[in-house]
């Protein structure tokens, strides 16, 4: 569960963003801002994660006046464990190439440099 090889860099970045506040429900726009993903990329990722039981979703119960209800997301326990494993593997993989061979031009979008904040 949650092996880094399973996740694309974009998926990993969503997992990382969600695992930053594991107990809090987060909005799609907040996640988009944290990850830098467009809505057309972010939501299919959230759908896949929800299908696998790694993310749970619900509708906001009390929307702001004049605003529609928002869809909220957070990691499930499985998702939290998977994210922790995936991020740890990502950090390990990040460390190994830099130890053996410097890759100054490596792009984060190629799956080599996903920013991974600490997972609680």
């Amino acid at each position: 569960m949650g092996s880094r090889a399973e996740f694309s860099p974009q998926t990993l970045s969503v997992l990382v963003a969600l695992s930053g506040q594991p107990s809090a429900w987060q909005h799609g726009y907040a996640l988009a801002r944290q990850t830098g993903l467009k809505s057309g990329t972010l939501y299919p990722i959230l759908i896949r994660l929800a299908d696998r039981g790694l993310v749970e979703a619900c509708w906001q119960e009390e929307p702001a006046p004049g605003r529609p209800r928002r869809h909220l997301y957070r990691l499930t326990p499985d998702g939290l464990a998977g994210a922790a494993t995936a991020v740890a593997e990502a950090e390990l993989a990040e460390a190994e190439p830099t130890a053996t061979k410097a890759r100054p031009g490596a792009s984060p979008r190629r799956g080599r440099g996903v920013a991974a904040p600490a997972v609680p």
């Binding site: 467009k38 959230l46 896949r48 696998r52 979703a57 928002r70």
Partner: protein, 419 residues
Amino acid sequence: MSWLGPVATAARRGLVLLLPAARRDWAEAVWAEAHEVPPGWPRLAWRAGGVLLIAKEGQMSRRTGILLLFAAAAGAAAWGAWPGSPVSHGAAVQGGIIITLALLAGLPLLTRRVLGPPDTRAARWLRAGFYAAILAVMPAQAAIGLFNGAVPRAGIDRHVWDVVQGAGVPGSSSGGPDWGGEIAILIFTACYVAVILALTARRTPVAPATLAIGVGAGLALGVVMYALAPLGLNFKYPDRPWLHGSAVDPFVALAWILVFGAPLVAGVLAGMRCHVPGGPGEASVARAWQGFGAGLVSGSVGALFLTVSGTGTLALLVRSAWVRDWLYHGPHLTASALYGRELYATQDATGYFLLLVGFPFIGLLLGLVGAGIAHATGSLPDNGGPGGPPGPGEPEPVPDPPDGRRLADAPELAALAGG
């Protein structure tokens, strides 16, 4: 521009409907979240992402493709069938075309709510084939009606027309049946479409294998009947370009055998394949359904194949010298004789209507008889006991995946499922 908002909302709701029910929340979520995005380009880009989501998630390519294909085929059929010049029954023909297309578009939505969508490849292909056949018949029928109803102004053709058709107003044209005829055709078309939609829906008791058996038997019947009489059952001038036989020709005998034999054999085969792990009562009911379905499908497919190919040949006959030479074995006929034969042939096109009514009834009756034979011989066990080959059993309808698509449909999902 106050209308723009409601139009955009309606368009968005229409787009969301393209998604499977389990995915609609996600599309709504994107739109709801758009209110949090700064207005202008960022919000527009966010909503564009929502459209992209619908395209990715909604099997949009398939559904849109089907819609576009149907729209194109319906448009082509209407264009081909639409009365080009003022004819006496033009309004009836136009009304018939419009209502037929509305039936073809609307009835699947109705049956989908009641019986569910088609969920097997056999069911989808059978529906597509029926729709294609009905759309193909429309312009062919119009061309035949226009030719048959056009009264020559004078000359030998006028005399021939009077002999074949009776008196008519010179230069006039009926171009098709009147309202009474159109209504009869519409009711008949609606029944045909409703039956085939019901037989191919998810909650039908007819198995996909039964549909395949019925289609096979029906095509065999239709091909042989067409080979025997490519211009319909015209006994005055039988036109058989490759068969020169008479009523006792072996091929004629084969055709008659197939009319009754094809649904019977289809019913037997469908009944034999039916395996029900219940009591004898349940097994007999299940086999009866398979026989009913196989016979009805074989009769309908046979009649429809014959009608499409026959009316298509007739429509080409009145327009193409090559087809005339092929059917009448060379240009040895005088112009008036040729015109007379064409009139007789097109006049007999109404006979296809009788075939379309008769074949399915013959089919369902003989299919039931076939299923009864299969049940009586008991070639397959009802409880897995001895008595026959281990049949594959009644294929259960395969439910749609929760999101209405396969796992490997998206690279992202394939990556997630890879481990």
